[in-house]
């Protein structure tokens, strides 16, 4: 059975947010897409989850963010006693070895490079849906 909890997208580029929503729609992904527009906003979610808001099924995290960087957000999420178990997928343009290595060192669950072509981006959305919203939940 599918997990209907929301997906948290941490992304500062409105166009990317829109395209992600559309790609998800194309794949008929029904989970609500919550959006944090920068690192600070992302971390504010920690408090909301404490207050009873449902935790996301997966967090899609861009690395290049204003104010607090994606890697720092990742570090704080993974350092959290309870919420460290929420899966985090880095979704970024950077292919830099240094970024990949740093993200895995901080305990990221997956690292996906954003493709330029929209078809490939739809494929990425499909993989996320399949893996994190379907297979992962069944495994649990």
């Amino acid at each position: 059975m599918e997990d209907r909890r929301p997906i948290l997208l941490v992304e500062d580029n409105p166009m990317d947010v829109d395209l992600t929503q559309r790609a998800f729609a194309k794949r008929r992904i029904v989970n609500t897409l919550e959006v944090a527009r920068d690192g600070e906003e992302a971390l504010e979610w920690l408090a909301r989850w404490e207050e009873g808001e449902p935790t996301p099924v997966v967090i899609l995290l861009d690395l290049k963010l204003p104010r607090i960087s994606g890697l720092e957000v990742l570090r704080q999420l993974k350092a959290h006693p309870q919420h460290c178990r929420i899966p985090v997928v880095v979704l970024t343009t950077s292919r830099e070895d240094a970024d990949v290595a740093a993200a895995y060192a901080l305990g990221v669950n997956s690292y996906i490079v954003k493709p330029v072509e929209f078809e490939k981006f739809i494929d990425v959305a499909a993989q996320i849906d399949l893996y994190w919203c379907v297979l992962n939940q069944q495994a649990l």
Binding site: M15, R22, A23, K64, S94, R95, K114, V116, E117
Partner: protein
């Protein structure tokens, strides 16, 4: 007895005449006899013995009465007798008389027989002869006491008349042969000097005096230096009678001279050395308690210590008092050490100068222990002020250089960081809009197709193609710039696995395209390089080959590696269109393309990436081709020789 005329004749005779009667009483005397013997009339009638006149022989011995010529004439058989008698006269003293006594039958009328005595008086000659003898004896005694040779020669007879004993002493030869033959004179003279000696007497000056120095070789082999002087001796009439001379042994003087000359030469040489020596030459003495003073200092010391050498010595100035106060302990310690160990004194110290500034002095001297318990150091003091300054300059230059290198390194690192930040931005910020362009174009195409005509759809397709190309360009550019970063980590890279992994990476594409791929790698081949860099280079070459064989019949690609003269050669060969070798260098430059994009797609970065990756590994890359005949790309890296 005689006539007046007879008397005159008898008185005019040189010889003395005496008449004696048979009893030897004087009867008469002629004028000469009266004068010589101091006789007058009063003596007549008396015998010599009556007058108290003694008679001796010429040697001064008493004469027996019988031996006297008068007695023998009177007592004999009427014969004339002769003899020499010395008579002591009362008035004229001793007279030396050569006597002739003749007996006569009648001395004068009435006096019977008697004798006539005639005589010549040689008293004066005799005195002269005596004086001469005495003077000659004196001369000989004088000569025998002389250290110098004295000689007299009769030049007409070429006879040696006199030579003192010095000859035998100095020449070491007997003198007798020279009396025999004067030519032996040359025997002892050094052969080289003989002609000069012979010539010297010919070149006597106006007064006839000459001087010559020559060598004599003694029979014992010893060499003796002689100074000879010759001069003529003249008689009363001013004619030259003899040649005489002296010869002096001047060997000791000569030796002294030679010694002095040697000494002078040595002294001059020493002075020259001292004058031209680097720095100052000095002798510095210190007593057992460490109090010192200069014994000698060459003029150059003034430049070093600011005090001239003479003053240093005269005022008994101690070096330590001239040394910079901070360096005194060091100098004192080094001197003590040198004295204790007998080792060279090597020290560097500063000397403040009265006119301001200071000198840096280096000492190199050897200690000599003296009898007085002190030590004298002989050696050099060298001015190393300039050297010191140069050393300091070099040191400060080095520091400056290091600082500059550090600065540059920091600048470079900053540039690198900047570059990284730049490429990071490029990868994010340049690609994000592309995603928008492509995404919305695609959405337009899929969701609003109904509102577009064919031309509209063609525009959208073109926009999307351009966007994809832009994406590739950005990716290649990033890959190219990524090669730059960090230092190459060179190590052994096995050729076999590298080629295999590159082939495997493209296996699907090769199979799909129907390309015949041949791979050949020598076994056990290991190159020095960077694994990732080599993979990147070979993959780009392979991609290149795939791209350029597109549309060719019998598409064939060869890839491999082999050993060649200490190197490993990798190659990728295709049967594509090839290229004109004129453009060989251009194809490795970034964004350089030899073909139209519609014929062979690409960004023009691939071969630039290959070259950059290979050069980073200190390898070489080149290509061989001809238009229409395919191309072969080579990569050369150093080989590691393996055991097999």
């Amino acid at each position: 007895m005689e006539s007046e005329i007879d008397r005159h004749v008898l008185d005019s005779l040189e010889s003395g005449l005496l008449w004696f009667d048979a009893e030897r009483r004087i009867v008469d005397a002629n004028r000469s006899a009266r004068e010589v013997l101091g006789l007058d009339e009063s003596h007549f009638g008396a015998r010599f013995e009556d007058l108290g006149w003694g008679q001796t022989d010429e040697h001064g011995a008493r004469m027996d009465a019988e031996a006297r010529p008068l007695r023998r004439a009177l007592d004999g058989g009427g014969e004339t007798t002769t003899g020499v008698v010395v008579v002591d006269t009362s008035r004229r003293g001793q007279r030396w008389l050569r006597i002739r006594a003749t007996p006569v039958a009648c001395i004068c009328p009435g006096r019977g027989r008697g004798a006539v005595v005639s005589f010549t008086d040689f008293t004066e000659e005799r005195k002269t002869a005596r004086a001469l003898l005495e003077s000659e004896q004196l001369f000989r005694m004088f000569g025998d006491h002389s250290m110098d040779l004295m000689w007299i020669v009769d030049p007409r007879a070429q006879k040696l008349l006199y030579m003192n004993a010095a000859y035998e002493r100095i020449w070491g030869r007997p003198g007798a042969p020279l009396y025999e033959d004067l030519a032996h004179w040359m025997d002892g003279i050094h052969p080289e000097d003989r002609q000069r000696v012979a010539a010297a007497s010919q070149h006597a000056d106006a007064s006839g005096i000459y001087q010559v120095e020559y060598r004599v070789i003694r029979p014992d082999g010893r060499l003796v230096w002689i100074r000879g002087r010759g001069f003529p001796l003249f008689d009363a009439s001013g004619r030259m009678r003899y040649l005489a001379g002296f010869a002096e042994d001047i060997t000791p003087a000569r030796l002294n001279e030679a010694l002095e000359r040697a000494h002078r030469v040595a002294q001059e040489r020493l002075e020259r050395i001292v004058a031209t020596a680097p720095g100052a030459v000095h002798s510095y003495w210190r007593d057992a308690d460490g109090r010192g003073r200069f014994v000698f200092a060459s003029p150059a010391i003034h430049d070093l210590l600011g005090v001239d050498g003479a003053t240093l010595v005269a005022r008994r100035i101690d070096l330590l008092d001239l040394v910079h106060p901070e360096d005194r302990a060091l100098v004192d310690r080094s001197l003590r050490e040198s004295a204790d160990l007998g080792s060279a004194w090597l020290a560097t110290f500063r000397v403040p100068l009265a006119r301001g500034g200071e000198r840096c002095v280096e000492a190199h001297s050897m200690p000599v222990r003296e009898g007085d318990g002190g030590v004298t150091w002989h050696g050099f003091l060298i001015d190393i002020t300039d050297r010191r300054r140069a050393e300091q300059e070099i040191r400060s230059l080095n520091v400056e250089l290091e600082n500059r290198v550090a600065e540059r390194t920091a600048e470079l690192e900053a540039k690198n960081r900047e570059m990284e930040a730049f490429t990071y931005s490029v990868s994010h910020d340049l690609k994000a809009p592309l995603r928008g362009i492509d995404g919305y174009s695609r959405l337009l195409e899929s969701d609003h197709a109904g509102k577009l005509d064919d031309e509209g759809r063609f525009f959208i397709a073109t926009i999307r193609k351009a966007t994809a190309h832009m994406g590739e360009l950005i990716d290649d550019l990033l890959a190219y710039s990524r090669i730059e970063r960090g230092r190459p980590r060179l190590g052994p890279v096995e050729a076999g696995p590298v080629v295999a992994s590159v082939v495997n990476g493209a296996a699907g594409e090769i199979a799909d395209a129907g390309i015949a791929l041949r791979s050949q790698v020598d076994p056990g081949l290991t190159a020095v390089g960077e694994h990732d860099g080599l993979v990147l280079a070979l993959r780009n070459l392979l991609d290149n080959a795939i791209k350029f064989t597109a549309g060719r019949p019998d598409r064939t690609i060869e890839i491999g590696a082999r050993r060649a003269h200490g190197h490993v050669l990798f190659w990728v060969r295709d049967n594509g269109p090839g290229f004109d070798m004129r453009y060989h260098d251009r194809i490795f430059e970034i964004f350089q393309r030899l073909h139209r994009a519609e014929d062979y797609p690409g960004t023009g970065v691939g071969l630039a990436i290959v070259r950059k990756a290979v050069e980073r590994m200190q390898g070489k890359v080149w290509a061989e081709s001809a238009k229409g005949a395919g191309a072969t790309f080579w990569i050369q890296l150093p080989a590691i020789e393996t055991a097999d």
